[in-house]
């Protein structure tokens, strides 16, 4: 096997953006400090130097208006990539996102479309407190007309970005900040990861863990731990929540007959509920135990170093929960 280069999740995304910006002059990037500063998490670094102020645009702190402008630009011929620094601030763009972007194609009977990528960051782990640590993808996944993508690896991020940048719909990409420095082998050649295809990150036969975003890594670590106890865990990553690869998930459940859904968003009325409800319904006859959810605690996310790690699922709690589930 030829040696493959490894690059970070951050670099993979920048690479995908760069390739597409070179290929298509309609692609522009907008956001706060995405330009000369290269993004507050360095997630647009280098783009400004190559593409300049015309295509890498620093906006004022005016999320509603700036995102609305991106929607208007998308309706008229550009393909904007708009960055919302923290997904906690999606609150500020919901109207333009939900009442305009998501519905324009439908309302206009297909005369218009909104080819736009909204990228944003999420997750705990840096002690940023209640207004900077949420993982709010469930909201956007509730809105017909939007696509919702949650890449868990650098490889997926690169490929999903390519799909997103070539999609004619508004696509949301949720990036866990703790993943930016994680690496995976990535081919030199551009490639796409299609939406709506889950990925078996680890094959196994005893139990299925469906995990989203960074939770995939916690699940993989838990799987290793569980293997020591003789448990063969399958870890499946939906990669896109909308569209959701129900068939792919059911396939795994038919094999293992047990499912744990692990989600970094809040549990109540969250994304895990959709996955759990769907599998409970679609795989009813194959289930040996109830589909169980492990998600973020239903509390505002505290800053303190001792409290914050209790909020999202981790390796330990996943392994524990899987064992309980095996015992049923």
């Amino acid at each position: 096997m030829p040696e493959e280069r490894e690059i970070t999740y951050r670099a993979a995304i920048i690479e995908a953006l760069r390739e597409e910006m070179r290929a298509d002059p309609r692609v522009i990037v907008l956001g706060e400090d995405v330009g000369a500063a290269g993004g507050v998490f360095k997630q647009t670094e280098g783009l400004f130097a190559e593409f300049g102020t015309e295509r890498v645009i620093d906006t004022p702190i005016s999320e509603s208006g700036a995102f609305g402008i991106a929607v208007g630009a998308a309706m008229t011929g550009l393909r904007p990539v708009f960055e919302v620094m923290f997904c906690d601030f999606l609150t500020l763009v919901m109207d333009q996102l939900v009442n305009q972007a998501a519905k324009v194609h439908y309302m206009s009977n297909g005369l218009l479309s909104v080819p736009l990528v909204l990228r944003t960051t999420m997750g705990t782990g840096a002690n940023l407190g209640p207004q900077h640590s949420q993982s709010l993808y469930a909201w956007t996944a509730h809105v017909p007309g939007l696509k919702v993508v949650v890449p868990s690896t650098a490889y997926d991020a690169k490929g999903l970005y390519r799909s997103a940048l070539r999609d004619d719909n508004p696509v949301l990409i949720f990036e866990d900040r703790l993943l930016y420095n994680t690496k995976s082998p990535i081919p030199e050649e551009p490639f796409a990861v299609p939406f709506g295809r889950c990925d078996v990150k680890r094959a196994g036969s005893d139990i299925t863990i469906v995990a989203v975003g960074r939770m995939v890594h916690a699940a993989l670590a838990a799987a290793t731990r569980l293997a020591e106890h003789g448990l063969d865990t399958e870890v499946v990553d939906p990669r896109s929540l909308v569209p959701l690869d129900v068939e792919g998930l059911v396939r795994s459940v038919r094999k293992t007959n047990r499912v744990l859904v692990v989600d970094g968003g809040h549990r109540q009325y969250g994304a895990a509920a959709e996955i759990a409800a769907t599998l409970s319904e679609e795989a009813f006859d194959w289930l040996d135990a109830p589909v169980t959810r492990l998600a973020a605690e239903d509390v505002p996310i505290p800053l303190s170093r001792s409290l914050e790690p209790l909020v999202q699922p981790n390796e330990m709690r996943i392994a524990e929960q899987a064992q309980i589930l095996m015992g049923r």
Partner: protein
Amino acid sequence: MLQTDGVLDGRGEPDSEPGPSRVLDMYRTMVLIRHFEEGVRSLYAAGLVPGLVHLCSGQEAANVGVIAALKRSDFIASHHRGHGHCIAKGTPLPLLMAEILGRAAGISQGRGGTLHMFDPAVGNLGTNGIVGGGIPLATGAALTAKRLRTGQIAVAFFGDGALNQGLLHECMNMAAIWKLPVVFVCENNGYGEYTAIDTVTAGGSLTARGEVFDIPSHMVDGMDVLAVHAAAVAAVSRARAGEGPSFLICNTYRFSGHHAADKQEYKNKEEVKLWAGKDPILRLAGHLREQGIGQEDLDRMESEAAADVAAAVEFGKRSAEPEPALLRSRVYA
């Protein structure tokens, strides 16, 4: 719809003194809009219009004076009281009427109705159900035009109610710093629903709301289509020249209620009478007569408009309801 094409008017130059053909064209379009709204009103009264409908009768000068300064390829984003914009910009009446009736032959096959009529073929980014919602869309269209150097410009129409949406201020600020070719047009009819503008709107000067961003801002008599047009031509030519946004406030009046069923008890009778006397169509008719246009010409335009609207009404009424299969199509592109 308007037949002359905006600032070019055959001479390739912006001109605030429109030639006689454009003035007549504006008159014709205003009359068409008025008849159209009366057509909608009677359909509504007959129970044929699904939902609510907001008529723009009285505001035709603001609609037409601005749009007559645009090219067909220029963008507009309209609002909930937007039939006039759609008509002036050039969408065929039957497609609009059928849409308002929620029928399959409508411009959106009945998905959206009055609040959601889009027509990119003539640069119309849609009427809109969200107060202020179209403002960033037009501003974004201006960004596209500037980025892709298409020479297009964009107009954001909104009511006085939208003046208090923070979104407007955000968009004005960005349009100003990025020198976007956009014109912000406030159709100030004195009310937002049942609330008079001055009870909810601070500050003695509404133009100040644009000037604060160093955006040239003008208030014009929105019942005088020539005044509106002159101001619009100036703003459009500024935008086209790459000099950035402008802000226009057209003072006008809603002859109908907030929506077609509104009895308008909150309005003062004197006020209603006063504004009825400023009818923009009568006013332009007077001007045209002074210019030597014969009453028979005006009457002919009137009856043509009536006939066009009658045909559109007929078309709409005859159009089928959309098929159930439509429900699930075009959610995604």
